[in-house]
Symmetry: C2
Subunit: 348 residues, 2 copies
DNA sequence: AATTAGCACTCAATAAGACAGAGTGCTAAC
DNA sequence: GTTAGCACTCTGTCTTATTGAGTGCTAATT
C-alpha cells in the first residue's frame, strides 16, 4: 500500500516524534535520517502521506506529526508475537524486585504497578482479578457473636472474599462446619458467576441433613456473591504524565490527570477491549471520549490457564509502542508465574 | 499581645488571601474591610505585623500574605471545640451518601475520602485502622489442600486479616478447630501488638492437648502478625490541587502532586502527629520537608472508644481552616457512628 | 502623638513590535 | 521523477514601553 520510500518517511516522522514530541519537517528528516533524497522530495512524500491520512500538521507551516492511523499502522506492521523473544534478563530483574512472598494478590498488583510506572515513566495500571470469573477453592462459614456468621470464600488466586452476615436465628457451630464442607464439596472449582446460576438451578437441592439451615443462608450468600462484581484497580505513576512536554499546559494536564485518577474510567478502559494477550488502544480507538488523546497498552495475566486480570500502561499517544509492549509482556508473564508459584492452592 | 486594630488588619489579610490567593495591599483593605482608618495607617500596621512575623511580602513592593505564624494564630484563637456544634444537617447529608451497608471498613474509607474530596475540593485522605492497635475478636485456622492452612483473624472493625500458611506436616482438621477455639479464647480482646508480646511471654504455655501442633504454628503466626504493620491509606481528589492558582506553574504542581501520590509520605503525614481529635499542621510544622508548602488537617475516628484511624484533608496553606475543621469533624463522627452500627461484632 | 495626604519609587504583568528559525508549497530547471 | 530556489507562514523569543497595585517616607493635619 505504501511504497518503500513513503514507509521510510513515515517511520522517520513517527520515530522522531516519539522521542522529541515536536513536529518534524522535511529538512530535519534529511539531516537526521539517511533517505538519499532531498528535502523537496521528502516534502512531496509528506504531502502525500498527509493526504492518505497518516500525517497531520499543527498549523499551516508547521512540520508533521503522526496521526492515530499512523500509530495503528506502525503497531500492526511492526509488532507480532514473534518479536517477543522473552527477555529473560528483564524478567529476572522484575523478579528480583518481587523478593518477598505475597500473601495477597492485591498487594502484588499494587507493587507491580509501582514498579512498572517507575520503569516506563508512564502511568501503570493493574486490574485485580474479576472475582466472578475465578474458581472457588474453599467455602467456610464461621460463627461469630450473637447471630452473626462470617462467610469466607477463597478463590484460585488466593484472593479471599469475606463477609459478615446477620441471621435472625443462630445456627450451631457444628452445623456451620457441616454446611461449609457441604458447600465446598458441591461448589469447588466453579466460578462465582456459575455459582449464582447453579444455586438458583437447584444444585443444592438434594438431600442434606442441615438443609433447613442451608436454605436460610442461600439468599444471603447469593446476594453477597452478586456484589463480587466490584473490581479493584491500582494505578501508579500518575504524575509521570506531567513530565511530557505536551502537558506543560496545566489545563491539559488537569484534564488527563482527572481521568487517570478516576478509578471507574480506568476500569472501563481496562475492561472495554478484547481479551487478547496484548491489546493496544490508540487515541480515538478508546471508547471513552476523555481518553481520545491517550493510548493504553494492556496485557492479560492468567491463573490455571484462564485469563483473570490485566495490567497496562497509559500515556500520551506518542509512545514507544513496541518497547512498551515488550516490557508489559514481561510483567504479565511474571504475574502469571507468581500466581502459579505462590497462590496456587490446588491439587497439582 | 496584638491590639484590636492589628488583629483586625491581620484577619483582613488572612480572609482576603484565603479567598483570592493574591497578596493584598493597604488600599485594597480599606476598600473592602471597614476599619475606619486610612490606607496609610493600615500601611503602618502592616509593617508592624510584618516585623512581628505575622505577614510576609512576595517582593519589595507587593502586598502582604499571611505567614505560617499568622495561620497558627488564627487557628489557635478562633477554633475551639465549642465552635463545633455538630452540624446535624451536614451529618445527615453525609449519611445519605452512605446508604449501602459496608462489608469492609476499607471500602467505607475509600468512599468517604472520595466524598470528602468532592465536598471540600481539596485532597482527602483516610488512614485505615492500624491493625496492630485493634482488638482481636476471632481467630480461625482452616485446612486447605496439602499442607496449607488458612489463618483468619477478625478484629473489632470487621477488618479481616488472613494468610495462607505453608506447613511441613499436615495438621488434622479437628485439631485445627480445636486450636482455633483455644486461640480465640486466649487472645480475644487483645490487640495484635499485645498478642506478639503475650505469645513470647508464654501465655500459651499452659497445658493444652494439641500443644505440639500449636507450637509449630506459633512462630508462623507471630511473623504474620508482625507485618500487620502495613497501613493502608486512601487518597482522593489529588487533582483538585490543580484548581488552585498557586499551582498554575507545572513544576510546582509536579512537586506537590508527587507527594500526594506517594502513599508512604501520606501515611507519614497522617501518623506523625498527636493523636488528638483534631490536629492541624501548617506548612513548616510538617516534619516532611516536601510538605512545607502544604497544610494538613486530620481528625481521628474511634471504635469502642479507642482511636483506631484518621481522616484528613491536605491542601495549600491558604485554606479556610475553621470551615474545613468543621467538615472533617462531621466526617470523623460519621465514621465512628458507622463503625459502631455496622461493624461491631462484640457483646453489647 | 497619632493619623493622613502626598509623592517617589518598585516590581510584576501585559501588550506591542521586531526578528529569527523551522517549516510549507509552488515553479522552473535539471 | 528530482531538486534548487524562493516567497510566504507561523511560532517563539526577545526587547521595550506602559500600567497598576503596592510600599515607605516625609510633612502637614487633627
Amino acid at each position: 500500500m505504501l511504497d518503500e520510500r513513503k514507509l521510510k518517511v513515515l517511520l522517520a516522522v513517527i520515530d522522531s516524534y516519539i522521542v522529541t514530541g515536536e513536529p518534524i519537517g522535511s529538512r530535519t528528516i534529511t539531516k537526521f535520517y539517511d533517505l538519499g533524497v532531498s528535502s523537496a522530495t521528502i516534502r512531496n512524500e509528506m504531502s502525500d502521506l498527509e493526504d492518505l491520512g497518516y500525517l497531520n500538521k499543527t498549523h499551516t507551516s508547521s512540520g508533521r506529526i503522526p496521526s492515530d492511523k499512523a500509530y495503528r499502522f506502525y503497531v500492526d506492521n511492526f509488532f507480532n508475537n514473534s518479536i517477543i523473544e522473552i527477555d529473560r534478563n528483564r524478567k529476572e530483574q522484575i523478579k528480583r524486585y518481587i523478593k518477598q512472598e505475597y500473601k495477597e494478590i492485591d498487594q502484588l498488583l499494587e507493587d507491580l504497578a509501582k514498579i512498572l510506572a517507575h520503569l516506563t515513566k508512564y502511568t501503570a495500571v493493574a486490574l485485580s482479578p474479576q472475582i466472578k470469573e475465578t474458581k472457588i477453592k474453599h467455602i467456610q462459614l464461621l460463627p461469630m457473636e450473637q447471630n452473626q456468621i462470617l462467610s469466607i470464600m477463597v478463590n484460585e488466586a488466593g484472593l479471599i472474599k469475606k463477609s459478615i452476615i446477620n441471621l435472625e436465628n443462630k445456627i450451631s457451630e457444628d452445623n456451620l462446619i457441616y454446611i461449609s464442607n457441604y458447600l465446598t464439596r458441591k461448589l469447588k472449582n466453579k466460578t462465582f458467576s456459575e455459582l449464582v446460576n447453579e444455586i438458583s438451578n437447584g444444585i443444592l437441592d438434594d438431600y442434606f441433613e442441615y438443609k433447613n439451615d442451608l436454605k436460610r443462608l442461600i439468599p444471603i450468600l447469593s446476594g453477597f456473591i452478586e456484589d463480587a462484581e466490584d473490581m479493584k484497580v491500582y494505578a501508579d505513576g500518575i504524575t509521570n504524565i506531567l513530565e511530557f512536554p505536551e502537558y506543560r499546559d496545566i489545563d491539559k494536564a488537569k484534564e488527563v490527570l482527572s481521568v487517570l485518577e478516576d478509578k471507574d474510567k480506568l476500569i472501563f478502559a481496562l475492561t472495554n477491549n478484547k481479551l487478547e494477550e496484548i491489546d493496544v488502544k490508540i487515541g480515538e480507538e478508546n471508547s471513552h471520549d476523555c481518553m481520545k488523546d491517550l493510548s493504553i497498552i494492556t496485557a492479560t495475566y492468567n491463573s490455571e490457564g484462564e485469563i483473570i486480570g490485566k495490567i497496562g500502561i497509559i500515556g500520551p499517544k506518542r509512545m514507544n509502542y513496541i518497547e512498551l509492549i515488550k516490557t508489559i509482556w514481561v510483567f504479565s508473564e511474571s504475574i502469571t508465574d507468581i500466581l502459579n508459584d505462590y497462590f496456587n492452592c490446588n491439587e497439582r
